[in-house]
């Protein structure tokens, strides 16, 4: 059993009057992939957005309860969000490269965090990140071309490279393959397998097959509640909860 990296305790989230998460208690292990599954609107994305405080961006969103990363409270008002997000990277549902060159897309993060003072250091970071995201071979000759000109799958790997450019400890992925075709999806899944050696990964997915393929631990959310969590094998073979059973066999959702 690996160490616990992220731990949430009685996490409640409200969007205005509507409560989106109810007393979520979840532990995520270090250097492991945790998949969060559940029907649309069940709070999976809301949960991972709590980990890097992306919910701050939404005016009406209110978070109560605790989330700790390595024992440090994330919801602490005093916490520096910038350095939190340096430690916790995020990849979104739709690839969202900046309207800049491939190189600038990757060097954006390091520059913001004051890493890579010289050009050669930056070059190195860009190359390393792109290599880790398995994109280097495809783009090394056109680093100055716009990132928006890449294919959807390449764009998503570019976004992954962007996320790992600042050396995070955790990577959050919010349905990273939902806008991609099966081949591009396979590439990303392969990449996730590789990345988990270095990073703690949380992935939200609608594809149960994907959860089985990439994750070691799975949490099932329904209507804002964490219904069941456990080893992926167990969740998909013999879940304790009837609702989990119904969901993974496609009876609802």
């Amino acid at each position: 059993m690996s160490d616990i990296k992220i731990k949430s305790k009685n996490l409640n989230v409200y969007y205005g009057d509507k409560q989106a998460l109810f007393d979520v208690n979840l532990e995520l292990n270090e250097k492991e992939v945790t998949a969060l599954i559940g029907p649309s609107g069940c709070g999976k994305s809301t949960f991972i957005r709590c980990i890097n405080r992306m919910n701050d961006v939404i005016d009406i969103c209110k978070v109560e309860g605790n989330i700790e990363i390595d024992g440090i409270e994330v919801n602490d008002k005093e916490l520096d969000v910038v350095s939190l997000r340096e430690r916790v990277g995020m990849v979104f549902q739709k690839p969202n490269p900046f309207p800049k060159s491939i190189y600038d897309n990757i060097s954006y993060g390091p520059k913001i965090h004051g890493k890579g003072e010289t050009k050669s250091e930056l070059d190195e970071i860009v190359e390393r990140s792109l290599k880790k995201a398995a994109l280097w071979e495809e783009v090394k000759d056109r680093l100055n071309e716009p990132g928006t000109g890449l294919s959807g799958g390449q764009q998503q790997r570019l976004c992954i490279a962007r996320a790992i450019s600042v050396n995070p400890e955790v990577i959050l992925m919010d349905e990273p393959c939902s806008a991609l075709d099966p081949i591009a999806t396979a590439k990303i899944e392969e990449l996730i397998d590789e990345l988990k050696k270095t990073y703690t990964i949380v992935i939200v997915t609608h594809s149960m097959a994907q959860a089985v393929r990439v994750s070691q631990k799975t949490g099932f959310f329904h209507l804002g509640k964490l219904i069941e969590v456990g080893k992926t094998e167990k969740i998909f073979k013999n879940p304790d909860n009837k609702m989990t059973q119904d969901y993974i066999t496609g009876r609802f959702g």
Binding site: D59, M90, Y108, I112
Partner: protein
């Protein structure tokens, strides 16, 4: 007379609607057939067929009637022994005859004019009567035609759609033709101007003083006169003044407008935005003449006082005052346009930037603004074309003398101001001075057209990227 006719045509054709509707209904019941369209379409069909040909005829007739009568009258007057040497004198005689007919002529009436006035009255009568007869003929013919069609159960719906399409097309055609007409009149007058003044002397001359341009006979200008003339129509000071004032205006409007646009789009809460945006847009609703006297009566003298207390000579009409006020006028254009383009930058880009740890201002500076840049440039270019075409503020506050200067405290002048100055008051229409206004207008038109075109291209390019 025409109004009575239009009224009658309208009433008559509208009443045909009810006739057509009930007629087709009863026809379908009588003969037990299925109509090709709803009964009301047969009503519309009758209305359109009965009104449009008659109204179009009336319009065309009214356009040509005066011209034809005039030429006939002038000819008969000449045959009766009236003497006139050129077109202007002929026009004068025609106006006299008309005035006699209307009973508004005071003066000696000689027998020739009297005779002509009588024949004028005859012609007017003849034309009016034949107009009425023809219109009724047209209405009867078109009613017979359309009734016959209806009885044959025509496809009234398709026909009505076709006629409506034609009407809409005609409207857009009128808009286009008007534009073309304006362009051509600008062009022709400008060509007259450029046939006197060499276009290069105009474009590159550095002295503008058209009030000096006295020509005894515009059709025969001597070489010596031309030397004088070409010095009076140099475009450079005007374009310099115009660009200079527009530049000052942009110095004011671009930062303030852009920053307030960014604030509205990125920082303001919904409440603040809902309150502040209309208030900023009020600025765009203030008539330019109000800005003008504000610039001329308040800001200009204020600058002069401040300047004097600092030991500077400031003219009370200065490029600075005009540019500053013009800039304030333009703020809402830039702020609301850039607010719109910034808002249409997808949220996912901002999320991506926040997620990597960028702050709000870093995100705006490095992601949002670059993404919105083409749209922002477009809005600035639109504002520039607004600035160089602006007239009232500069007429009142910038000054009249065409100084070639880059000192913002001196007075300078613009293209629009000079057009106003040239065309105010009595004009000889064949003097180069008057025609130069058209040349200026044409130059201004080409400049703003080019700017608008570039601006629209920029905005369009931006849209393609994010839709």
């Amino acid at each position: 007379m025409n109004f009575v006719l239009i009224f009658l045509i309208t009433i008559f054709s509208l009443s045909l609607f009810f006739y057509g509707r009930s007629k087709t209904k009863s026809l379908s019941i009588q003969n037990n057939i299925k109509l090709n369209a709803l009964p009301k379409f047969y009503g519309y069909y009758l209305v359109l067929w009965c009104s449009i040909p008659a109204l179009v005829f009336l319009l065309v007739w009214s356009l040509f009637e005066p011209v034809i009568i005039k030429s006939i009258i002038i000819e008969t007057a000449a045959n009766q022994g009236a003497i006139f040497n050129d077109k202007n004198e002929a026009n004068l005689i025609y106006e006299k005859i008309k005035a006699i007919h209307l009973g508004t002529f005071f003066g000696d009436i000689d027998s020739i004019l009297k005779e002509s006035a009588i024949s004028y009255a005859k012609f007017i009568n003849l034309f009016t009567n034949s107009k009425i007869v023809l219109i009724f003929g047209i209405i009867i013919a078109s009613v017979i035609y359309s009734l016959k069609k209806i009885k044959n159960n025509n496809k009234a719906r398709d026909d009505v759609e076709l006629i409506l399409k034609g009407l809409l097309f005609a409207s857009s055609l009128i808009a286009i033709l008007t534009t073309l007409g304006i362009i051509f009149s600008l062009l022709f007058e400008s060509i007259k101007f450029f046939s006197v003044i060499n276009i290069f002397d105009y474009l590159f001359g550095t002295n503008w003083s058209p009030q000096r341009a006295f020509v005894s006979d515009a059709s025969a200008i001597t070489a010596a006169e031309y030397e004088e003339l070409k010095d009076a129509f140099g475009f450079i000071p005007l374009i310099a003044g115009t660009s200079f004032i527009a530049f000052i205006a942009m110095l004011v409007a671009v930062p303030i407008g852009l920053f307030s646009g960014i604030y509205m789009a990125e920082y303001a809460s919904v409440k603040v935005r809902r309150l502040a945006k209309p208030i900023i847009e009020i600025l765009a609703g203030i008539p330019t003449v109000v800005y003008g006297f504000f610039a001329a009566l308040t800001v200009g003298p204020f600058f002069r006082q401040v300047g004097e207390s600092l030991g500077l000579t400031v003219s009370s009409e200065s490029a600075l005052a005009a540019g500053l006020i013009m800039g304030i006028m333009i703020i809402p254009y830039i702020s609301s346009l850039s607010d719109d383009v910034i808002n249409s930058v997808p949220q996912s880009l901002r999320d991506g930037s926040y997620a990597i740890g960028a702050t709000k201002s870093e995100t705006i500076k490095q992601v949002v603004i670059p993404a919105a840049l083409p749209g922002i440039i477009g809005s600035v270019l639109l504002a520039v074309s607004r600035a160089i075409g602006e007239t009232m503020i500069v007429v009142m506050a910038a000054g009249l003398a065409a100084n070639l200067t880059i000192n913002p405290l001196e007075s300078t002048t613009t293209i629009t101001t000079q057009i106003v100055m040239i065309l105010v008051g009595d004009q000889e229409f064949d003097s180069p001075k008057t025609q130069s206004a058209f040349a200026l207008g044409l130059t201004l038109f080409v400049a703003t057209l080019a700017l608008n075109y570039i601006a629209q291209r920029a905005v369009k390019k931006y849209r393609e990227k994010y839709d």
